[in-house]
């Protein structure tokens, strides 16, 4: 999200899900939409099938959506900046850009233009493997749209150059004037039910709720008054991917984890495990005894979404109600109640009658949620920003003006991934999710139907690579990186591109994250899950 915030001033989906069907051209980059956001993918498929919308898909794997695409760009792993720069090079060279939009609403265009000069289709082909002609055609297609929508996901962000990739997509959209309009925009698809909300609510080391910076003395003063406390800390805290090494080195003594399972979801798991062992105290609040909870000193049983009231904010910034349907099992408590009780016992009394009472406090200290009440979202959710009780919400961001004023073009050069294939580790590994499982499987693996469809981990490999390494479909293989190794069965598939294998990361027994590289994007601090070098061999 850091990339969008730098370009536009706000790091969220600029447009709505319904808007997708209003686009003339949709560019889907690094999103296996039909498996990860199935219902949203239907909007794309309907637009293409029935409304004449053109679809460009950029993805190394032959994902389902490629069968709907007018143009499928198949870049080498980790070369996104190069192909996006390539599209922009063509658009500028052929004078297909929106000069009025650029002049009135953006800054730094000349810098971008200078950087793009060398990204000729031929040069881009040499980096990305995408034929020069395809680059030119895709550029013309996107630039030719009156309303062009860009959808992207972790295939763009989970790279050491993730922020650069996002900024490049922002550049492309601004270049063609596709912001602040219905059916346009740059739209990150959030992978978890309330990622958006966790960010909105100050679940980040540098901001309070509503992205109010902790470094701003006036904001701190406001929060101190609202909360009735003194001395709120001034400097931004640690991001999760920095907390783990600090736990390893002993700077972090205790971790309090709510509903997360880093011992399957984090990169370079073996290192995470040792780091956790170095902790003096680990508290885990969860609904199951996850791999992470098993390492805890104290485990606190919490309620799941069906057992509590509250709100989630979806990927399109829509704040929606969650309602209690059943009583929790045994003595499980709502997460907010547990934290309030700990807080009270530490000398700061926190007492709320209900989740609704908390939302009232949220609205009082969070400008973008100021107009949200349970009454207003009873029937249908509202898109933030919603600054006042009579404000209808904001489905499309940046109409007429960007949140930060002028949209900022970032001149960005291509940089290769942190780890490249070599003689010892000749293949690339990319990871992702499957339709029938979810994240670390804590929830989905409890449904027999889902398990029957996606029972265990596998290694997807192209027919040619299978031949090269003499591997048979269904036979067990050992996959190793510089950080660890796992064993799983081979799945020979046309979905895989030569030179790259794919492993779903859901399965703790053969955790893909034993292999992945913990190398981070320097700004967003996202690990490079989507590229690392591995070797493969028959398992004994």
């Amino acid at each position: 999200m850091a990339g969008l915030a730098a370009a536009f001033g706000s790091g969220a989906m600029t447009n709505t899900i319904a808007d997708i069907e209003k686009a003339d051209v949709i560019l889907v980059a690094g999103s296996n939409t039909t498996e990860n956001h199935p219902v949203l993918s239907a909007f794309v498929k309907r637009a293409v099938s029935f409304k004449g919308t053109k679809l460009i898909v950029a993805d190394p794997r032959r994902i389902k959506l490629t069968t709907f695409a007018d143009k499928w760009l198949r870049p080498n792993l980790g070369t996104d900046v190069a192909w996006i720069n390539g599209l922009m090079h063509v658009i500028i060279k052929e004078n297909l850009y929106d000069s009025k939009f650029i002049e009135e609403r953006t800054e730094n265009f000349e810098e971008l233009k200078k950087t793009l000069e060398k990204y000729t289709p031929d040069y881009v082909e040499s980096i990305t493997g995408i034929p020069a002609g395809e680059i030119i055609e895709a550029a013309r297609l996107y630039a030719g749209a009156e309303k062009g929508s860009i959808l992207y996901c972790m295939g763009i962000t989970q790279h050491t150059t993730g922020t650069d990739n996002v900024k490049s997509l922002a550049n492309l959209a601004m270049l063609c004037g596709n912001l602040g309009i219905e059916g346009g925009g740059v739209n990150p698809l959030r992978g978890q039910n309330n990622v958006q909300g966790a960010c909105d609510m100050g679940g980040l080391p540098n901001v309070y709720s509503g992205y109010q910076p902790v470094t701003d003395p006036e904001i701190r003063k406001k929060m101190e008054t609202a909360w009735g406390v003194d001395g709120l800390p001034e400097k931004p805290g640690l991001v999760v991917t920095d907390m783990i090494p600090k736990a390893h080195s002993g700077d972090i003594k205790a971790l309090y984890i709510i509903g997360e399972n880093p011992l399957v979801s984090d990169p370079d798991l073996s290192h995470v495990e040792t780091s956790f062992k170095h902790l003096d105290f680990l508290v885990v609040q969860d609904i199951f005894l996850t791999e992470t909870a098993q390492m805890a000193d104290v485990v606190l049983p919490s309620t799941c979404f069906a057992e509590k009231d509250g709100t989630f904010s979806n990927t399109e910034r829509r704040v929606q109600r969650v309602r209690k349907a059943i009583d929790p099992p045994g003595e499980a408590w709502a997460d907010w109640k547990i934290i309030c009780e700990v807080s009270t016992r530490m000398g700061y009394e926190m007492n709320y009658e209900s989740a609704e009472a908390i939302m009232e406090e949220i609205a009082s200290v969070t400008p973008s949620y100021a107009g949200i009440t349970y009454d207003r979202i009873e029937k249908e959710g509202i898109h933030w920003p919603c600054p006042t009780p009579d404000h209808p919400g904001t489905p499309v961001l940046h109409i007429g003006k960007f949140t930060r004023g002028l949209g900022h073009f970032h001149a960005i050069d291509y940089m290769p991934p942190a780890e490249l294939a070599d003689d010892e580790y000749p293949l690339y590994l990319t990871t992702g999710r499957l339709l029938y499982q979810y994240h670390t499987g804590t929830m989905t693996m409890k449904s027999d139907g889902l398990n029957e469809k996606a029972p265990k981990c596998y290694v997807e490999i192209s027919p040619q690579d299978a031949k090269r390494f003499d591997l048979k479909d269904g036979s067990p293989v050992k996959v190793a990186s510089r950080r660890g190794e796992i064993t799983a069965d081979v799945k020979v598939s046309e979905m895989a591109v030569d030179g790259t294998i794919f492993i779903p990361f859901h399965y703790a027994q053969a955790a893909a994250n034993r292999l992945t590289n913990a190398k981070l994007d320097p700004i967003a601090k996202i690990p490079e899950y989507k590229v690392c070098a591995v070797k493969i061999s028959k398992a004994a």
Partner: protein, 376 residues
Amino acid sequence: MAEENIITINGNELVFEPGETILEVARRNSIDIPTLCYLKGATPTGACRVCVVEVKEAKTLLTACTTPATTGMVVKTESKPVVEARKEIIELLLSSGNHNCAVRDSDNKDWTQFQLGVQEYDNSKELCPVWGDCRLQELAYRYQVTGKKFPGTKTKYPMETVNPMIVRDFSRCIHCGRCVQACNEIQVNNAISFGYRGADTKIVAAGDRPLVESDCVFCGECIQACPVGALVEKDARYKVRPWETQKVRTTCSYCGVGCQLELHVKDNQVVKVTGFDVPPNNGSLCVKGRFGYNFINHPDRLTKPLIKKNGEFKEASWDEALNLVASTLTTIKEKNSGDAIGVLTSARVTNEENYIANKFTRSVLKTNNIDHCARL
């Protein structure tokens, strides 16, 4: 301008938008025209003909779902010819297949024999699994008809139960085509279509193979579209009767789309999930949202606080666990500093809970070390 776009339905003069069908104008004005095959968001086909209406100066009855409203059109939606036509349509539908909801009646007056046959097919002693939640049954009741007028036809195709999620009961299929439209026009998974012809008509997947061998992704949009008992959730079949459950609307807890859904609750258990027709999902769900609910009532759920002593978890009271957490965190904070503590809040829990975690971390632990798995 507006005066030109006026249609008269049951004596009411109504303004219509060019391109609107009679059905759309009627529904917008709360005039009830019954439908079976009509599916919102898909191309109307007029296949079932239940929505026929009488249009002045038209030679035959017209299907309201496919006929565009035109200026000066005069429509009657429940006239005698309309009602007679609807009765006959419903009687024909009831006479084909295993509609053992008792409004079916029996062509040869031998209900028992019919019922025994159906029970064998169903492998159940109960009446139709969607009894009380069936559009055809509702229409039979509304128009007070049974299936005895026409000779009953036998089911040609066996039930498909080989996949873990969806039961395809061809004996109750009325060939309305809603499932085909839901699959091809709403979810665009293109997994099922009409196969064979005439009396042999069957909804087929992948050239008449089981769903598991087709492009089906088990989103269940077809179940939700099915107006009868031809497509049913395997887990809920016969176990869940609509009058036994309470429906609670909420937001899906899987991906970030935030689909609106209803949890069907029976005896404090979630037993079924259906999509709710509002944005963003307009009633659609995916396989996880519809079928991935078993974790909720799973026996492995944590029910008591646990404290690890000598490497083993022991159940503890809330007081004991909370006091231990509070005192240990206080000690670490005082001995080192708040910055020696980190909090991982969650993209899984509510806004309210994330806000409380943010407030607790900053104002009590006195650190900004709070993050969550957005990056992961």
